[in-house]
Symmetry: D2
Subunit: 382 residues, 4 copies
C-alpha cells in the first residue's frame, strides 16, 4: 500500500488534533494509502522532541524549511500561527508536496491569492482545515439543502461563541497580535462560520460588518503582578468579536457573529437555516445532533423540529464508527477530514475545502474588515 509520509509543522493544539487523526483514520476507514507520521517540526528542540514521542511521530525537525525539502515527505501539514501559512504553503507546493493548511488561510487576501495561485499551478492536493464541515450532522444538513427538502433558502444565522479570553489577566499571545494572527475572533472563529455558510448555501455577495476589542491591553506572559511590581502590558490589536450582515448570491439573508467574549459558551459554533419548506439548527457543542423541521404535506399537528442523532448508518461518515446512538466527538471531525485528504491523494481528485475555498473565505473576512473600517457595505469581488 502506498505510504503517504507526512511532515507536520506545529505541535500544539492543532498538532495534537491532526496527529491523532492520522493515527486513527486507518482504523475507521478503508484506504489504499497509508499515512506515515514521518516528522514533526517545532523551533524548540526539547519540546518538539517530547511532542514527537507523545504524538507518535517517527522523527522531529526544528526548521520547517528542511522538511519541505526532504524527499521522504509527501504531505506538508501546516499547523503554525497564521503568519507562516503563506510562506510554508507556497514553498511546499513548489517543492511538489501535497499541502493541508490550518485556517484562516493567510493574514491577508493578497497572501491567500498567492497561495491559491500556487496551488492551482501545482499538481498537488491542497486543503484548508475547516474541520467542522466534517461533522456528520453538517454533512447531513448539506444533503438536506442540496436535495431541495428545505426549499428555497431565506435565512442563514450563525454565531460562534467562546469565552476563554474574558479574564483581563489572560496574558498576551500570538493570537492577539495582528502581525502574527491577522485578526482575532474574526479569523479564528468567523472563518469557520463563513466556511460552513459557503458549504451549505454558496457564495456571499455583500457584507456590512463591525469588530470590537473589549480589552485593549493584556499583561505580557511572565510579568504577572507580584512583589509590588507592575505587570508589563502588550497591546491587543485584533478584535475580540466581529459580526456582519450579509446577502448571499442566492438572495438569502445572513447574520453572523463570532466572539471570544460570550461568557458561558466554550465552543458554541451554531448555525440555523430557514427555507421555504424546512429548517435546520446545529451546534458544535452537541455536534452529533441536527435539528430539522420539515413541512408536512398537510397540516396535521405533527410539525416540529426533530432532533436527529446523526449516528445512524444513513448519516455521512457515521457508518465508520459505532452503532446508532453511540456518539463521536470533536476529534472525529479531523479523522473524517483527513480521510478525504488521503482519499484525494489516492485518487488525484482534490477534495473540498481547498485553497480556492480558503481564498474565497479570506475575501469575506477581508470584506467584513473593510466594512467595519469604512462603515459601509462591501461587495465581494473574487
Amino acid at each position: 500500500m502506498q505510504k503517504i509520509r507526512i511532515g507536520m509543522i506545529g505541535y500544539n493544539f492543532m498538532g495534537k488534533a491532526h496527529s491523532h487523526a492520522y493515527r486513527d483514520v486507518p482504523f475507521y476507514f478503508d484506504l489504499n494509502v497509508e499515512p506515515v507520521l514521518q516528522t514533526i517540526v517545532g523551533r524548540d528542540e526539547d519540546r518538539v522532541s517530547a511532542a514527537a514521542d507523545k504524538l507518535g511521530w517517527l522523527s522531529y525537525e526544528t526548521d520547517w524549511r528542511r522538511v519541505v525539502e526532504r524527499e521522504d515527505i509527501d504531505l506538508i501539514d501546516i499547523g503554525t500561527p497564521n503568519h507562516l501559512h503563506s510562506e510554508i504553503a507556497i514553498a511546499a507546493l513548489e517543492a511538489g508536496k501535497h499541502v493541508i493548511c490550518e485556517k484562516p488561510l493567510a493574514l491577508t487576501l493578497k497572501q491567500a491569492k498567492a497561495m491559491r495561485d500556487a496551488a492551482r499551478k501545482s499538481g498537488s492536493i491542497h486543503m484548508i482545515c475547516h474541520n467542522y464541515r466534517f461533522a456528520p450532522a453538517v454533512q447531513m444538513a448539506k444533503r438536506l439543502i442540496e436535495s431541495g427538502q428545505l426549499g428555497e433558502i431565506y435565512h442563514y444565522r450563525a454565531n460562534y461563541l467562546q469565552d476563554w479570553l474574558m479574564d483581563p489577566q489572560y496574558p498576551m499571545s500570538w493570537r492577539l497580535n495582528k502581525e502574527i494572527s491577522g485578526s482575532g475572533a474574526h479569523g479564528d472563529l468567523m472563518s469557520h462560520s463563513i466556511d460552513l455558510a459557503r458549504f451549505l448555501l454558496g457564495e456571499i455577495a455583500e457584507v456590512s460588518g463591525m469588530m470590537k476589542t473589549f480589552i485593549k491591553r493584556r499583561p505580557l506572559d511572565g510579568t504577572a503582578p507580584g512583589d509590588g511590581e507592575e505587570p508589563q502590558y502588550g497591546i491587543v490589536d485584533v478584535d475580540d468579536a466581529s459580526a456582519f450582515l450579509a446577502t448571499f448570491e442566492n438572495g438569502a439573508m445572513g447574520v453572523f457573529e463570532a466572539t471570544r467574549f460570550a461568557k458561558g459558551n466554550r465552543n458554541a459554533n451554531r448555525l440555523e437555516v430557514n427555507g421555504s419548506k424546512g429548517a435546520l439548527r446545529w451546534d458544535m457543542e452537541n455536534m452529533n445532533l441536527l435539528q430539522v423541521y420539515l413541512d408536512e404535506e398537510k397540516k396535521n399537528g405533527l410539525e416540529g423540529f426533530r432532533t436527529i442523532n446523526c449516528t445512524e448508518e444513513e448519516h455521512p461518515y457515521a457508518g465508520a464508527y459505532w452503532p446508532s446512538g453511540h456518539i463521536i466527538g470533536y476529534e472525529h471531525t479531523f479523522v473524517n477530514l483527513v480521510y478525504e485528504l488521503l482519499k484525494g491523494i489516492e485518487t488525484g481528485r482534490n477534495p473540498a475545502p481547498d485553497f480556492e475555498d480558503g481564498y474565497r473565505n479570506q475575501a469575506v473576512l477581508e470584506a467584513v474588515e473593510q466594512s467595519a473600517r469604512t462603515g459601509r457595505w462591501v461587495k465581494l469581488n473574487v
Copy 2:
C-alpha cells in the same frame, strides 16, 4: 342561556384553580350554558368571605351541607381535603346535583365504589378533576395512540416528581395524615399518573408496588423551635414516595414513580410511551410541548424525536386560545376540563374522566398499597 349555578366547596389551591376556570371558560369557548359562581364554602367565615370576594363568588357559606340542599345550586364542586369527598359527593348526587370532585376520588376503594354507585344511580353529570388529561399535548398524544400511528404499545413510563416537602422543618399538614388524605404522594400525584396511563393506554391488569416515608415526623404548625422550647411533632403516616411495576391489559409494561422528594423537580409530571412504530414523551413542566418519534417509511437519516409546540389550530383545545407558538399554562388545563364538564351538563352526555374512572383509579392505588404491604403482585379486579 341556561345558567349553571355552582357551589364550590373549598377555597385554597384548588378553589382558586376551579374558580378561575369557571370565570375564564365563557371567554374562550362557546357554550349554551353559563357558569354562575353562586356560592363558595369554607368553615372559617372570615377567610371564606375574603375568598369569595377575591375569587369572584356571589356569596359564601360555612357549612357544605347547606349548599348541597340549596335549590339555587346546580353543580357541586368538591375541592376539600380527601376525607370529605365521599360524604359530600354522595349527598350532592342524592340531592340531584351535578358533581365534580378533586382527586383522588376517596380515601378507600370502598368509598370510591359507593361514590361511583351513587353517580350511576343519579341522573347527574359527574367528573373527577384529573386536569392533566386536558393539556392539548396530552390530548394530542391520545389522538396519536388511538390512530395507530405509534403501532402496538410496549412501554409506558411515568414519573411525577415534586420536591416541596423535603425540608424536615416543613410542618405537619392534612396531606401527611392518613385519616384525612388517605395516602401521600400516592393519592396526590400517582393518581394523576394512573389517570394519564388509563387515558392513553387503557386498564392496568397487575401491579407490584413499594411506598416509602423518608421523614417520619414533622413539627406541628406553630410549634417551631424558639426560646429553647422543643417543637412538638406529628407522625407522618403516609408515603413520601411510591412506585410500581405494571402490566396493562393490552400487554404493555408500565413503570411508575411518584414522589415529593425529588429535589430539583417542582411539578415534573412526565410520561413516555413506546410503540412498535413510534413513541412520545411529555412533561407538564413544559406542558405545551409533545415529543413525538415516528418511524419513516424507509430509513433516511431523518428519524428523531420532534418537539411539537401544541399551540396550533390542529391541536385539541388550542384553537380556543392564541395563535401558534403563544403558549398556555397550568390554569388552562382546568379551563378545558370545565368546558367539558359544562358541555356535559348542556348535552346530557357525561364526559370523562367520571366517577367510574375515579373508582378504577382508586382500585389501582389500592392494589399498589396492598402490594407494598404484602410484597406480592396484585391483580386488579374491578
Copy 3:
C-alpha cells in the same frame, strides 16, 4: 373602590388579549382600582357587537371619536392598525384620558414624537404595550443585570422568528401595506426586540441595518384562483425580515434579527446576554424558562447554564399565580402589564414602558430603516 372605565379600540387579536387581561387582573392581583370593560370599538357593527358579547364589554361603539369624548371613559386602549395610533392617542390624551397603545407607537418617528409630547403635556398615564417585558423570566433577567451579577455586559443577541407569512398564497393584509403598518416584521417584531434590549441594557447608540422582502406581491383577499380566473395581486411594500448590528451606549455589541420567514419558528422571540461574570438566554416559546450562567468563585467543574423555571415566589409576578413549577402562558404577560398600568393610574406614577420608550424605540426602528436605505451606519440622536 375607584372604577377605571376602559374604552378599547379594536377587537381582534390584541382586543382579545387586552380584554382578557382586564378581566383577569383583579383575580390575581390586589389593586385599589377596579377595571371596568365599559365599551369596545370597531367599524363593523355586527362584528363589534359580537365581540363585545364574547369578550365581556358592557357596550360597543363604531366610531372611536365618540369614545374619546365620552365622560364615562377613563382609559383608552388602542389596539388598532398602526396608522391610527397617533391620531387616537393624541385625541385621547387631549381629552384627559389615560392611554395604552399597541406597538409600534406610530408609523414614523415624527408621529411618535408628537405622541410623546402630547403625553408629556397631559397629566395622564401612558404606556406602550410591549408585553414581553412582563414575562417573569424577563423581569428576572433585568434583576440579574441590574444587580451586577452578570458583570459588565459585552453582548446582546436577539432574534424574533416567525413563519406565518411564508405561504405565497397568504393574501395581502394591512400588515403588508406600508401606509397602514409603517413597516413589516420590523415594526411588528423588531420593535419588541428593541424594547427588550432597551429594558435590559439601555439605549442603543448606533446601528447598521438591512431589510428584505422575499415575496413582493400577494393575492388580494377574495381573489384566490378559481374558475380559471387570475387572482389579483397587491404589492407588498414592507419588509419580511430586518436585521441590524448595533453598539449600545454602554459599549455592548448588539446583533438583531426579526423575520416572518423563519420556517419552523412560530413565535421564537429569543435573546441572549453575555457579561463579564455571567450570561443569560431566553425564548418566548418557553417563556417561563430563563437560562442563567454564573461564574463560580473558583473553577470547580460546576459551571453551566442553569434552566430556571421562573414560577417561584421569588420571581417577579410569579407569586400571584400558582405554586412552583406550574407554568403560566402568553396571556399572563398582558395581565402583568395591565396590573402595572392600573397601579400607575392608582398611584399616579407612570409605569414603563411609556410613550417616551415608544418614541425611543421608534427612533431605533427609523435609524435601521435609514441605514438599510443608505448602506451606512446611523447614529441615534434622540
Copy 4:
C-alpha cells in the same frame, strides 16, 4: 517501558472498541507501561485474520486456549459471547494472566462467584468492562455525591432504552438465546444500569422485578422468506425488557428499567439521582452533559438544573483530551477504562470495577430474575 502484551478474545463490536482503546490510550494518557496488541482470537480464520489487520493486532489465533497458554501474553481481554466468559477468565487467571472481561460477568451467579474466587486467589489484576462509569460526567456525578453536595440520597431512577430489536424480522442471534447470553436486555443493558447505581450509591438491598418478551420467535438467519418458502423460526427465551424496584442499603429508593423495545431511543442510558440538597441527571446519548441541581444557601430565584459540559480541565479524564467545549464520544469511555486497567497493572493496585463488582452485579441480576419468576421481593445476600 514495560510492555503489556494483550490477547483479545473476540473481534466484533467489543473487539473493535477495546482494540481502539489500547491504540489510543498512550496518545492521551501518560503511563509507564505500554500496551501491545499482541494477538486477537476468533474461530473463523478468514475473519479474524482480516480483523487483526484492520484493528492493528500483530497476530491472530483461532483457539482462545492457545492464547491463554502463550507466555508472551500478559493480559487477556474477553469480548466473547457471555457463555464463554467464565471458562476463559478462570483459565486465564489460573495461567497468571491479568484479565478484563465484558459484562455481564457470567451466565449465572454461581459462575460469577467462581470467577470472583479465582480472581481473589490469583495475584492478577481483574476488571469487568462497565465502560459507562468512565464517562467524565459520571465520574463528576460520583464526586458530587461523595462530597456530600447532594446531601442524603433519596431516589435513584435509571432507564436504559434501546430499540434495535423491534423489527419482528430481525433474526435470531446469540443474544436471544439463553444458553449463550444468559438473559436479554437484562444482562446486556440492565447490568450497566446496576453498575452505575452501585458505583454512585452503593449496594442494593432488595428488589422486586419483572421481565417481558414481546416477540417470542424470530426467523433463523438465512431463512428469511422468499420463493414462497416459509422462514424457519428460533425461540427467543430471553427478555426483551426488564424492570425492577429496589431499596438500597443506604435507604434510597430505586426504579430501574432496561429494554430493547423503546422505539426512538438508540442508546439512551439515563439516570437521575435526587438527594436532600441536590440532584443530577445524565444520559449517555449526550454523554458529555451532566445536569446538576444544587440548593442555594438562601432561595433567590436562581435554582435550576445547570447543564454542565464535562469537558473542562476540572472534570475527571477531560484534561487528557481537548479544550473546554470540545466533546468526546462513546469510544473514550473505553480509553479511560483501559487507562485505569493499565495503571492498575503498572501499580499493582486493582482498579474498580473488578470481578467482585461483577459478582455483586450478577447477584442483583439474578435476584431480579428470581423475583420476576416468583412474584415476590428478593433480598440480596452476597
